[in-house]
Structures are given as C-alpha cells and as structure tokens.
Amino acid sequence: MSITAITPSEKRRQEIPHVTIRFVGDSGDGIQLSGDQFTSATAVAGNELATLPDFPAEIRAPAGSLAGVSGFQIQFASHEVYTPGDQPDVLVCMNPAGLKTNLKLLRPGGILIVNTDAFSESNLRKVGYATNPLEDDSLADWTVHKVPLETLTLECIKDLDVPTRTGRMAKNFFALGIMYWMYNRPMDETLTYIDKRIGGKNATLGEANRRLLLAGHAYGETCEMFPVNFTVPQAKIAPGTYRNIRGNEALALGLVAAGVKSGLDVFLGAYPITPASDVLHQLSGYKEFGIRTFQAEDEIAGICSAIGASYGGALGVTLSSGPGIALKQEAMGLAHMVELPLVICNIQRGGPSTGLPTKTEQADLMQAIYGRNGEAPIPVIAAQSPSDAFMAAYEACRIATKYMTPVMLLSDGYIANGAEPWSIPRTEDLPAFSHHFQTSAEGFQPYGRDEQTLSRPWVRPGTPGLEHRIGGIEKAHLSGNISYDPQNHDFMCRMRAEKVQRVQQDIAPTVVNGDADGGDLLILGWGSTYGSITAAVQWARGSGLSVSHAHLRWLNPLPANLGEVLRRYKRVMVPEINLGQLVHLVRSKYLVDARPLNQVRGQPFSVGELVKAIKQMLEVA
C-alpha cells in the first residue's frame, strides 16, 4: 500500500487492535464532513473500518438544540470489522447538546474531547443543563480533554480575511487534526480535499482549513494534555483497488453497471423521499450513460413511468422508502400481470406511516412479499452492506430482465448512508447479462414462454408484424387476449407463481459461516444485520460456542437448500430490525421452530445485544 504516513515522536505511541470514535455536534458543525475525511484517511492507513452517520431527524433544527445533534461513528481495526462499533472509545464533542445526547454511549473510562467554547450559559440552558457539566464532577467516569476549539481556531487564522462566523465553523478541521495525530492517520488525502474542494472555490478559506488541520495535529503532538497517541496496525486486506462508498451510491452504480453490461437503457422514475432520494440524485448525474431520470409528480407516477419505459424496451427502475413504497403496490401488480422487467428499490426507513424517516428499519419485508391485491408474488432481494448494494442492484436488474418480472430490492437507511471500503470489481468480471427483444413473427405468442425461465417474450413497440395488446385483466395463456375462463385464471396464477419460484435457478445455495454440518445454534439473517451478526458470531465462536451464521440474499424465493440447512441446527434464531417477519416465512415454510430476536429502535443491533441473546438461547452465562 502506498500511504503517506506521518510519524509522530515514537516514545508516546501505543498499539491497539481496534478503536471506535464518535464525532458529535450541531448540524452546522461539519460533523459529517469530518467523519468522511477521517474515514478516507483510515482507509488509506490500511485499516478495516465501518461507519455510521447519525443525522438529526429534523431538517434543520435550531442551532445548538437537542434535535439538531448530528453524529458520525467509525470503528477501525487491524482485524476484520463488521460494524461501526457498539460503544465509542472516544467521543469528540462540539457542544452541550451533543454531550447531553451522547455521553451515555461512551464507554466508561473512554476519552472525551470537548469544545469548551460552546459551553456558554445560554447554550447550556437551551438543552436543560442546570450547571456546566465540565465544571461539576459529572464527567468523573471518563478521561476528559477540554479544548477551547473556537478560541484556538480563531487565533490560528486571525491574520486571514475570514469572517469570524465562518472561521468559527472551521473548528472541525482543528479537531480533526487532533484526531489525526491521536490515531496516527495520514493527512495527505484531507489536505488534497481542502485544497481542491474548499480552496478551489475560496482560496482564503482553503488556506484557513489547511492551517487548522495542521495546527490541530501539532496541538496533539505538543500539548501536554494528550499523553499518548495510538497506532492501529494495518489489517490484512484482500488485494484490490478500493474506494470508500455509501450504500446509496453503490446502489446507483449497480444500476448503471447493469445498464452498461446489458446494453439496455436505464430509466428511473421516482419521487423524492428520505432516505431514497440520493439514489435519484446520483443517477441524474450519469446522463452520459444514457440514463434517463424522471422526477415524477408522485410515487405512483414514478413506478408507472418506469413500467412505460420497460414496455418500450428500457430497464425501468423506481425507488422509494416507507409510505412511498406502499403507494406503488397497485402498479407492481400491473407489472407482475403484464410480465415486464422492473426494479423497485425500497430504501427502508422507520415506520409505520411517516414513522422515523431518518432512521433505519427492516420492517417492509412482508409488504414486499405480500403487499399487493391478489396472488402477485415478485422476487425480493436484499443488500447486506453499503458496498454490497452494488451487486444486489446489479442482480435485481439481471433477474428482472431474465425472468420478465418486477423485482423488489431491499436496502435500508443504515446501508444507504453508511460507508465502507469497497473492493471495486473489474467490469469484465461482472456476471454476464444479456437481453433479447423478440423481432421474429414466427410462432410469436405474446404470452408464450421460455421453457427454462417461463418468461414471456419482450417485444419493443415499433417492431413490425408483432403488434399486440397487453393489460391488467387476466390474459389467456399464450395469446395474451383477455380471458375470463376460470381454468385459465387458475393456470395463469400458478404459472406466474412458478416463474417467480424458478428464480431459484439463479440463487446460490445457502452458505453457512461456522459449523456447516450443524451445531447448537444457527443465526439466520438478511439485509443490514449482516455486520452485527458476523461480529457477534465471531465473538461467540471465539468463546467456544457452537454458533453459525447464514445470511439470505434472496427473500423470495428462498434458496432451495434452506430448509435442509435449518434442520441441521438444534436452534435457529432470526434477528431482525422489525417485530418478526423473516422468522414467519421460515417457520411457515419449513416448520422449524426458529425464534425471533427483534428491536425497532431505528438503529442496527449492537454486537453486545446479539451476544447476550446468543448466550440466553444457549443458556450459558
């Protein structure tokens, strides 16, 4: 790895295997930016890492208010990392609101770095502190470093022509500099960012931020307050070219890749909604790939326009979250009936109703499988991590086209906004993905079927001699004419169901991490719980417990061998960020006494609570 490492004085270094750091402050404090920069630097440093941004629920809450607190957490290590960490070891705190809401998360004995300048009386009052916690003994359990960040910042750039307000807002780079020193992170990447992205627009501001980062670093090095800095050795990372990627970005790239590899034009019809909108934003910037993005008047028009595009021979995609997905169900039924490819991306968020728009949840699974009127099964696939959203999206497109069916892709708020290093695939290594438009009139039947996939032919309007009519009323086998024949309806319902079932042909058998031949406990998961479960299982196996893990990519159909796999274990546990959904599917289907583990707290499982549940289930202390 080619990394510019900055070497601090050797004597104060201490090596640790992993650390979790959390930055908190006001939405205006640049917390997310700091987090992103720290993440890049950490990736460059060769550590494994996982991150979790924690946006304020309010669009723009009053400055300094509890509702306006923004957070960013990162765990990095010299070994594999699957979650952003349960409990931070370090809390970097910009204001009283951040302290009030986040202190309880910091592990006892952990390090608290706090911007004392923000602890004015009015700020304290705003969040309900009667006395200044920095001045009473309420922080006795932690190692506290008080830094007058704003004073230092303003001092450092006082000769530059930067308005005080702007200058004060730049304090995050000073804080970042301290952290870079403390965890021995390379600064090149961030300096380049400052010069290009900030300095490019405003040279003085660029200069100010550059200075602040370096000054923060120097402050760490020289200041008496910090007795030691830490080194987290490089992890053994698989060879490859990496970038850091958020889930929504990866999902968008997966759609672009599907378009390029299949030769199909991608059309996205969507209506903005949190947290799905970013995928729309991303895709709207890829016009050179021929991607047509259409901001529709509502979610129904979004999916309908995508169906229209698929009918015309494009790869129709729509996306939404929460209530927006509920609105699309009628049109999904139409797509199922007319058997056109369509990908519906559901970036799940806290429900029901408007719910908790900025929080994560896995509670739309049953809706994905059963949400439509009548018998209208569709394949359902789930992404399991930010970078994995790329392949999940790619696969969703491939299956939709191959089987001429709508496919629902489940992601969630955690995946969408979380970021992780991604080993960028070589385009030539992506799974083969072709498409076929019928052009020959010979033996053409609008509802004739491919023997293997049961898919019907895809005909682009404009193809001479193949003119035909389709629609949402039940259609006669082969001809596709309207049919009210009772037997035909039964036949066609079963045919469509069977077609969806045939997607099993393209689904890898369930793989077990752990004791493949059976054991005391299998943890069955899906979606974004992947990281927490993996970490918890690793921990449990390390303590000698017979615990294994299987994670589902496809929720409908389920892998052919799943029932057989489940039966190999004495117990099966299904952790979900909902009140129990997948667990119903497997209990019903395999009559296995799988047990649910549920929470809906708008955030991922912590490894700790999974470990606790594992112990309980195995009745060990």
Binding site: M1, I3, V44, E189, P239, G240, T241, Y242, R243, N244, L253, V260, K261, D265, F267, G269, Y286, K287, E288, F289, G290, R292, F294, A296, D298, I300, A301, C304, S305, A306, I307, G308, A309, Y311, G312, G313, A314, G316, E330, A331, V338, I424, R426, T427, R460, P461, G462, T463, P464, G465, L466, E467, H468, R469, I470, G471, G472, I473, N481, I482
Partner: protein, 338 residues
C-alpha cells in the same frame, strides 16, 4: 414525429384488430373508434410505431380494438405510463385514450402534470359525463344535482370544465369535438397528431345506457347551429350560420347579433397560437344556455417537448464525456492493496 422512410398505403381495415368490440349497442365509442381508425390510416406513420395506452373504463378498452401496439393499464395512470414510454422512446407515436373518470377523477394529477410537461402525447378523453364501466355513477364532469346510483338525491360537486382545467395546467394544445361528427373529429384528431407536444382532446361521447342525451342541449339538430361555436385559427368567432358572433363588451364576452347590436368588425378573431392562455380559457369557459359551446382547436402553441429536452441533455452529456463504466466505478479517491 419525422415521417419514416416508407409508409404503406393503409386503409381503415389495417387498423382494425381481431378482437370483438364489446361496447353496448349504440354507444358513442363505436363512432370514435371508427373515426380514429380512419384517421390513423391517413397519417404518415407506420402501424407498428403507434402505441395506444389507456386506463380503465369503457373508453379505455379502446386499445384492444386497434391493431397497433396497445397497453390497457390501470385506472387513471395512463398519462404516467405513456410519459415513461415517450421519454424513453421518442420515436413512437404515443396515444392516450381515457374517460372523464379515468382522466379527471383518479387520474387528474397525472393528467395535469403531463400537460405542463408537454410530452408529445396525444390524449383523447371520451367525456360521457358518467362512469360507464362501473355502471353509472356520476363523474367529475356530471352536472350538479345529478341523480345516479351513488347520488340518489343528486350530486353535490360542481363539475370540471376539462379544457379550462387543461389550460390552467398549462396545456399547449386543447381541442374539443364529438363522437357523432366524424368529419370534425377526424380533422381534430389529425391536427392533434400534428401538434408537437401534449395534445388534449375532449370528445363528447354519448353513453346511451347510463347518461343518454347528455349533450343534446347543443348537439340536437334544432339547436346545433345556435349552440355550437366552431372555432378556427385566424377566423372570426361567428356562429348561428353567421348571424351571431362573440364580442367583448365592458371587458366581458357576450353574444353579438350581427346586423343588430354588433357588426362583423366587433366580432373577435380566434388566435389559437396566443402565448397567453387567457384567450383560449375565455373560449373554453363559454357554455350553454347563455353561450354556444366552443368546438375545435382552442389552443395550439409550440414549445419544446420534455423528451426532446431530455434527449438533448443526454446528447450534451455524451459530447462532454464518454460513458466509461470503469472510470465511473473508480471515481473519487481510490487506493490499491497489493
């Protein structure tokens, strides 16, 4: 809508499908079907390049009976589906066939958005002022106080004027015609096809089962001339065999009796191309009994279509940078582990 290289000589029969037509005997839909099939046979478009998209309703069964490509979708959503189709396939001629319920009740939002976006769609709305398929409930164009199955004591909603709504939404082309006047309807359909942008055509259509005679107050022979104003771009707004005209008095439109209280000079001239929609709106608002009902093309203003601009953006983006997937995946900061 550039004419393809070779257009076969079509007859009406070329546009008749093999499906049995399933409307009630006497339904106005038959006449419209026949007129549209005839109009299609005269257009310089190959058969396979026409697509008919419809929603749900008696009228929305239309696509089954035309031997082009057809998509009978779900209730109210045809404009949205057609928009997606047209956006990705600007080469096709996309027709939308819809009813007053399909277009203005459940589908009202998609309609007004299609109109403002100006996709090159040809929207034919069959207005029978009733829900036919669901067996006779009042519709958003039914008159106030209408007694139907769902309103035994009379409906309480003031009806939409579909053309006024379309103009309020920013429609670039609005026109009105009727089922029984094949000549007029055929011309209007052809003109709508020629317009580049969303064409909205309201076609009065008799539902002889659930709302028979809904339009007789201005279509019956004895009153027809007096109660219909056939508008033509650039022509004076005269009617009643030239004996009456629309004039402005005290800044309001009134009926002038030529040779009596008004002269031909007083009569306003129709300008379908006026960029200000107010003129067309005033004409759309005319209604019996005080006024004649304006028939014909009330507005036809050209402006770039959505799909044109979309294709242009794509072309420009492509001219600026090549579509390189490898580069895209490797965008931003990357690092290599060996």
């Amino acid at each position: 809508m550039s004419a393809p290289v070779e257009i076969p000589k079509y007859t009406k029969a070329d546009f008749e499908s093999d499906q049995d037509v399933r409307w009630c005997p006497g339904c106005g839909d038959y006449a419209i079907l026949s007129t549209v099939q005839k109009a299609l046979s005269t257009l310089p478009v190959r058969k396979e390049n026409h697509v008919f998209v419809s929603g749900i309703g008696c009228s929305s069964r239309f696509p089954y009976y035309v031997s082009t490509y057809g998509f009978h979708t779900i209730h109210g959503r045809a404009p949205a589906i057609a928009s997606g189709l047209k956006a990705s396939r600007p080469d096709l001629t996309v027709w939308v066939v819809t009813g007053d319920g399909d277009a203005l009740s459940i589908g009202g939002n998609h309609l007004i958005h299609a109109l403002r976006r100006n996709f090159d769609l040809k929207i034919l709305m069959f207005n029978n002022r009733i829900y036919g398929l669901t067996k006779g409930q009042y519709s958003p164009t039914s008159e106030l106080g209408k007694k139907t199955k769902s309103t035994p004591l009379g409906s309480l909603d003031y009806p939409f004027n579909p053309l006024a709504l379309a103009l309020g939404a920013g429609a670039s082309f609005v026109a009105r015609s009727m089922d029984t006047d094949a000549k007029h309807l055929g011309d209007i359909v052809t003109t709508a096809w020629k317009h580049k942008g969303t064409s909205f055509v309201e076609i009065f259509q008799n539902c002889n089962i659930f709302n028979d005679g809904a339009f007789t107050s201005f279509t019956e022979k004895p009153v027809r001339d007096d109660k219909q104003l056939r508008v033509e771009h650039g022509q004076k707004l005269v009617f009643a065999k030239g004996t009456k005209g629309i004039v402005r008095r005290n800044d309001r439109l009134v009926v002038g009796n030529l040779g009596q209280d008004a002269t031909l000079d007083d009569v306003l001239t129709h300008d379908a191309t006026d960029p200000d929609p107010s003129h067309a709106f005033a004409l759309a608002a005319l209604d019996v009994p005080e006024f004649p009902v304006a028939m014909g093309v009330l507005r036809a203003v050209e402006r770039p279509t959505y799909e044109e601009m979309m294709s242009e953006q794509i072309a420009q983006a492509r001219a600026r940078k090549p579509a390189d997937l490898h580069k895209l995946l490797h965008a931003g900061y990357t690092w290599t582990v060996k």
